[in-house]
């Protein structure tokens, strides 16, 4: 799965300042559809991303809560994995 960090695009969208991990997108590009949604083509191994790595990391989680972030997915896409990105360590 090709992954790269598009810091130039991050800056262009006004979201610069932090994100070594923002955005993670496939090398075959994407289409910006909504502030909550970035999409790329549905070719094999495609990665669809949502949310933002912002200038501060959100203290999103508390134990035993289910946190939701929106994403728009193309009809017919077959999803194999879901990913989130940590900002701090959680010991096993």
């Amino acid at each position: 799965m090709p992954i790269y960090v598009d810091t130039a695009r991050e800056a262009a969208l006004g979201q610069s300042g932090s994100g070594a991990l923002y955005p993670i997108v496939g090398a075959n590009g994407f289409q910006f559809l909504h502030p909550a949604v970035e999409m790329q083509s549905t070719t094999s191994g495609a990665v669809f991303t949502a949310g933002r790595q912002g200038t501060a990391n959100g203290s999103v989680l508390t134990s035993q809560t289910v946190h939701l972030t929106p994403i728009r997915l193309p009809s017919g896409m077959v999803i194999t994995k879901i990913g989130f990105v940590s900002a701090t360590t959680a010991a096993g």
């Binding site: 979201q15 994100g19 070594a20 991990l21 923002y22 955005p23 993670i24 909504h34 909550a36 999409m39 549905t42 070719t43 094999s44 191994g45 495609a46 990665v47 669809f48 991303t49 949502a50 949310g51 933002r52 790595q53 912002g54 501060a56 990391n57 959100g58 203290s59 999103v60 989680l61 508390t62 134990s63 035993q64 809560t65 289910v66 946190h67 939701l68 972030t69 929106p70 994403i71 728009r72 997915l73 193309p74 009809s75 017919g76 896409m77 077959v78 999803i79 194999t80 994995k81 879901i82 990913g83 989130f84 990105v85 940590s86 900002a87 701090t88 360590t89 959680a90 010991a91 096993g92």
Partner: protein
């Protein structure tokens, strides 16, 4: 308390849970690291993939869900959002406590709710296609 359960899920536009990953139980999660979990249950049965159904618009709104049951949970890479922004559709940066330990049933009977006053954050997340 160390981590007991970790799972991600796929919630449809009605906020019904339609798919979950396998439980990553007590696997440590290092800082600034992506964790990818494989789909484990769809429509109440064991499965390794979830197919987005057909829609005339060509795409459908979903929510990616994350649940970690631990004494110290990781902070996520995320963008803070205000209460007002989080209430706009598609709503973002919200959470619920329904069935929030092991991966729950995925037959659509679990429906999450958004707290209208919750600001929270908007975590970076992604899905990987087959």
């Amino acid at each position: 308390m160390a981590i007991s359960n970790q799972w991600f899920g796929l919630v449809d536009s009605t906020l019904a849970l339609v798919a979950t990953t396998a439980d990553d139980t007590n696997t440590a999660w290092a800082a600034n690291t992506a964790k990818e979990l494989t789909i484990g249950k769809v429509a109440g049965a064991t499965a390794t993939t979830y197919k987005v159904p057909a829609d005339a618009s060509g795409s459908l709104l979903y929510y990616l869900a994350i649940c970690v049951n631990a004494g110290t949970v990781p902070t996520l890479a995320a963008q803070p959002v205000t209460t007002g922004i989080s209430a706009l559709s598609p709503k973002m940066g919200n959470s619920g406590t329904t069935n929030a330990t092991t991966p729950p049933v995925t037959d659509g009977t679990i429906v999450y709710t958004f707290a209208a006053t919750t600001g929270a954050s908007w975590p970076f997340a992604y899905v990987v296609g087959a």
